[in-house]
């Protein structure tokens, strides 16, 4: 008999608390698979955010730190500067990274900090009950944009990878989706690449995962996946936006 699926070693044997159809769980699994494949479980330190993924510190069989809301890139900087030979990654939602933590993420990228950021863009604040995020789509109804996000009032959604791409310190930037198996495979490839960039010490790496929040979007899980593909992807294009190695090494 051939074993087709098993729990990655780096994923703890704990039931996750995520809602049905939420893609946080898939992303956790992908991270654990990459850690297993690169055989870096004993060398990796992860940082859990404030947000639905706060319990990530319980879901991985690796050393973990829990960070204040938005501060994970600063915490990661502190860890990586003490342990330059180890792998460090942050796991952050869009409220965490693109709102309260914008200074920290921008400056970590500017300095070319050699850690990896797993950025969960689900276009909403999940944990606090579905408030508008900087990434919320124009027209999208949330607890704090009950008439739909209006650009004239709240601006246009923030494209994080494109924004960070202006910084030479960002060595690898990619946006991926998790709305079908083909995209999940691509997502894993990008994640693996971001860890390799870190291993090579080339600079800052970030993968943005277009994710779902069926609970706060008020959608069934499958509809939520469809919404990512149809509504989010056109505004947030998928693909590798920066790979410093393929572009011939660090810019001056």
């Amino acid at each position: 008999m051939k074993l087709v699926a098993k729990r990655p070693k780096a994923l703890a044997e704990k039931p996750m608390h995520y809602c049905p159809g939420c893609t946080h769980g898939i992303t956790h699994r992908l991270i654990a698979e990459v850690i297993d494949e690169m055989d870096i479980q004993e060398k990796t330190i992860g940082i859990a955010p404030v947000g639905c993924a706060v319990f990530a510190y319980d879901y991985f069989n690796i050393d973990m730190q829990q960070a204040a809301h938005g501060r994970a890139p600063a915490v990661a900087t502190g860890i990586k500067r003490v342990l330059p030979e180890n792998f460090v990654f942050t796991y952050q939602g869009d409220g965490d990274l693109a709102s309260i933590g914008t200074a920290e993420i921008v400056h970590a990228a500017m300095r070319g900090e050699k850690f990896t950021v797993v950025f969960i863009n689900n276009a909403i604040y999940g944990m606090t009950g579905g408030q508008m995020a900087p990434t919320t789509m124009v027209g999208q109804k949330t607890a704090t944009s009950p008439y739909g996000r209006e650009a004239a009032h709240a601006g246009y959604p923030m494209r994080v990878v494109e924004m960070l791409a202006t910084l030479p310190g960002a060595a690898y930037l990619a946006r991926v989706g998790l709305f079908n198996n083909r995209e999940i495979k691509k997502a894993k490839k990008a994640l693996r690449r971001s860890f390799e960039i870190q291993e090579k010490g080339l600079g800052f790496s970030l993968v943005e995962f277009l994710s779902t929040c069926p609970t706060n979007w008020g959608m069934a899980p499958l509809d939520a996946l469809k919404w990512v593909e149809e509504e989010m992807v056109p505004y947030y294009p998928l693909g590798v936006i920066r790979d410093i190695e393929e572009e011939g090494g660090p810019k001056k």
């Binding site: 973990m64 204040a68 915490v75 502190g78 500067r81 180890n86 200074a103 920290e104 400056h107």
Partner: protein, 354 residues
């Protein structure tokens, strides 16, 4: 043999950290502590350490959090407005039980305030400062030499209790030049291993650095554990200095720079026949309650002098428990009280307050 060198307070504090194995410093510019990070940026690379100028005090204290959690001996410094920004991080450090040293070279407030010396961050420093039920030991030097000695001790106290420790100087301590000697020379490899650190779970179970406890009972448990540490600090870490209190009828209480001024005032008072003694708290948390309580039994009154409009005086009153009057005298906003002012006030109060 150690030799004495003439150094500015801010630079001496930085060197003290390096001499006890601190190899990581994260900071953000603010007057009057700028010489401290600048010194670190020059010296740390010489000892294979890391200096990093953060994008803000918020980021700096969270870098301290990460570095401390990774097992590094780490330090940051700032001045009042910057320390306010660090409070969230300090609360997380206390809740996650991470050791580090935080230097506050205090200036006048509130708001942007000024850049001259002040002691008006006493409440913030001694009451935890951020959200939640926590405290940090607070060490308050009155000279550059003492700033060096206390900074060195601060790292050990931080490690002993796994808690952030504050060194509270004022602009005067930071800017003043005095001869100092460094009595210790410790390198990072001589420091005890931190088994709880998140430095890669090789051959052991994963370590987690965390202050979240969603279950009320679990959060209460964490708080009770923290309280035990604070009780232990109250037993073991209280420091103070007394001067001429045995026969004193009048007791002056002051810390830091103000204690030096009060000393001149006390000398002048003794010359005119007033029996004046001094109690100088060196740790502001834990506060030297017992010595003040004892003194309050015999003293005609206690006069607390501060560069604020009255903060430590509350702790003095709590310690004296009404056994004698506790008066307050202070200047604020960067104005430094003069010995003559204090003497005049002493005479006035001794004469019945007229």
């Amino acid at each position: 043999m150690t030799e004495k060198i003439l150094m500015k307070g801010n630079e001496a504090i930085a060197e003290a950290g390096i001499r006890v194995g601190c190899r990581y410093f994260f900071g953000y510019p603010i007057t009057p502590q700028n010489e401290l990070p600048a010194y670190m940026s020059r010296r740390l690379p010489e000892v294979q350490g890391t200096f990093l100028q953060a994008e803000s005090e918020v980021a700096a204290i969270n870098m301290v959090y990460g570095a401390a959690g990774a097992g590094g001996r780490v330090m940051t410094s700032s001045s009042s407005p910057g320390i306010s920004l660090k409070q969230e991080g300090i609360s997380y450090l206390a809740g996650s039980e991470l050791p580090c040293v935080i230097v506050n070279i205090t200036r006048g407030g509130p708001g942007l305030g000024g850049i001259q010396p002040a002691q008006s961050d006493y409440f913030q420093a001694t009451r935890g400062g951020g959200h939640g039920d926590y405290y940090t030991p607070v060490l308050a030097p009155q000279s550059v030499q003492e700033a060096v000695d206390l900074t060195m001790d601060a790292f050990d106290i931080a490690d002993k209790y796994r808690n952030p420790v504050l060194v509270l100087g004022d602009g005067m301590i930071g800017q003043m030049m005095e001869p100092v000697e460094f009595k210790k020379e410790i390198t990072p490899d001589q420091l005890p291993e931190k088994k709880w650190a998140t430095n890669g779970a090789a051959g052991r179970k994963p370590n987690i650095i965390n202050s979240l406890r969603l279950q009320p009972e679990k959060l209460e448990e964490l708080n009770l554990k923290l309280q035990e540490k604070y009780m232990a600090m109250k037993k073991a870490e209280v420091r103070y200095e007394t001067d001429n209190i045995e026969d004193a009828e009048y007791i002056l209480v002051a810390f830091g720079t103000t204690a030096r001024i009060v000393k001149s005032a006390a000398d002048m008072a003794r010359e005119v026949g007033m029996k004046v003694g001094i109690i100088r708290p060196i740790t502001l948390f834990p506060f030297p309650e017992d010595v003040i309580a004892k003194a309050s039994e015999k003293a005609r009154f206690i006069l607390t002098v501060e560069m604020s409009l009255g903060q430590m005086v509350e702790d003095v009153r709590l310690s004296a428990k009404g056994r004698c009057p506790v008066y307050f005298q202070g200047r604020t906003g960067g104005v430094v009280p003069k010995p003559g002012e204090i003497l005049d006030n002493l005479k006035r109060l001794a004469g019945g307050g007229k």
